[in-house]
Symmetry: C2
Subunit: 315 residues, 2 copies
């Protein structure tokens, strides 16, 4: 058995996970950001013990603890170099958690743990090279090469939300301009939805929120597009085009076997996936050669726990 | 010893290469594109035998033959799926060359062999993850992950010339729009140089070719920029910006230890590299974390032979 910890800015989720990536038992506690890191990690340790105690297993059954962290974890040093939404800088998470457990502890970026989860137990099962893309507030990504999470030589890779799709384009939070997530995240879809609704009060987007533009979500826009609303469709087509161009960059560089799409926007299901596949097909480089299967990520919120736990399986 | 074959549209270059990637002896013959593939491969075999005969070694000293091919080689199947500038489709190169040699034969894309050469014996020596970028007619690329060439699950990866830096941008030969090589290859620099010269007959670019715009090369533009010509500098700055944005996409996805820049444009030396590094530094995501060293590729035209030979060392 393995323990997987999904460390987030709001909650810490912990799961006891078997060899095949199946969650046997899980639990959650508030992160309580702002407190000293040793207190947060103490709570994490207690939560791990509680989850094991509530299951039919014992601590002796656990082979390793894996942690999926936001920001920039450095597994070699056992620290989280920094994580904005935890307000952590150089936190020695392995040393701190080792005060409570005599077990191997691995840490990895939460994009990569989601990717590893899909590779072990989800949409990317059975292939060596896969990439999982999460379309949410930003674009998260997990890169699996030869069955292992890949984050490069300085742990700063696998930030596919920040590949440049438009030189000198929209300002990004990362300091650069034109990053993919500025055009293809849920946030981008909402931003464009608001603009379009404002300019087109006749559109279904505007009507479905009764003019309260702050209520517009990715679903508002996609539902209107599904219904054939012209304003929404135009916006959706443009969104899919940007999404596809990032996917093509991924294919032309990594050429994975499978690209799994998750996150809020992916809930649009085949309506999104079919449009995306069509656009990629139109613009792909090698027309007569097979390329990555594009599919929906399967594990949803559990991916964080599962992937973190599966880090222990790689030891 | 290893044999490296650099198969090009104009010439076939063959080298006898030692364990450390040093060329002991080399030779060249015209490819003679248009002839049946078995004739071309027969010539290749004769050239290999000649190169060995002219050296102090014997065929028995050779452990393997590696071939760097343009287009899309498939090492698993031992074929070249297709290569435009050879006019080859599904050529069984391994089976054909095996008629002449009882040796392991490996094939790989020529971008990746150049990358492997730099990793073994050039600018990227001593690190696990590196990427070599060749700025020529297009942009070639070689990706080395954990010491091995990486070309993905369908051999269509490592085409970094075709990452998208401008959605709906300039039409590319690959059928898509906005590919990096349309903005950051030598061809792009020449195209923009011609435009700028035409619009600015006072510029040094125009004067140095005495108004004969067809004589403009990448060097013409860069030399004028080095001299401080305003028109050339403006164009050069824009070129470097596009080049840097592709490099940032590479860092944010692959995060290699070293990025080596080769090809005709790289002959500009530190004038180019210093400007490029400055631009990357300004726009990099993680400001306080080390990222890839950007340096000049070292092996020039020999990279093709050396990298192909080193494929044999990986067996």
């Amino acid at each position: 058995m393995y323990i997987g910890v999904d460390l987030g800015g709001t909650n810490i989720a912990v799961g006891l996970v078997d060899e095949d990536g199946k969650i046997v038992h899980k639990g959650e506690a508030p992160t309580g950001v702002g407190r000293p890191f040793d207190e947060i990690i103490k709570d994490m340790a207690h939560l791990i013990k509680r989850v094991i105690a509530e299951s039919n297993y014992k601590l002796e059954d656990v082979k390793a603890i894996g942690i999926g962290s936001p920001g920039l974890p450095d597994d070699e040093k056992g620290i989280i170099v920094f994580a904005n939404n935890l307000d952590w800088h150089n936190v020695p998470i392995r040393a701190e958690l080792s005060k409570y457990f005599d077990l191997p502890i691995r840490i990895e970026n939460d994009g990569n743990t989601a990717g590893l989860a899909e590779a072990v137990a989800g949409a990317c099962k059975g292939v060596d090279n896969s990439i999982t893309i999460t379309l949410g507030t930003g674009i998260g990504s997990g890169i699996i090469i030869n069955g292992k999470p890949y984050s490069g030589s300085h742990s700063i890779g696998a930030e596919l939300g920040h590949i440049i799709v438009e030189v000198d384009g929209i300002q990004c939070t990362c300091g650069n301009k034109g990053c993919w997530e500025r055009y293809a995240s849920a946030t981008a879809l909402i931003r464009e939805g608001k603009k379009a609704a404002q300019d087109n009060p006749d559109s279904m987007i505007y009507k479905s929120v009764e003019g309260n533009l702050d209520k517009i979500t990715a679903k508002t826009v996609i539902d209107a597009a599904k219904e054939g609303d012209a304003t929404a469709l135009e916006l959706f087509d443009k969104y899919v085009y940007y999404l596809a161009m990032g996917i093509i960059t991924i294919i032309n560089s990594f050429d994975p076997s499978i690209i799994a799409i998750g996150g809020g926007v992916a809930k649009a299901g085949d309506f999104l996936l079919d449009a995306l596949k069509k656009k990629v097909d139109e613009h792909i480089f090698y027309k007569d050669v097979p390329y990555a299967k594009i599919t929906r990520a399967e594990l949803g919120n559990d991916a964080g726990i599962i992937g973190a736990a599966m880090l222990g399986r790689l030891i």
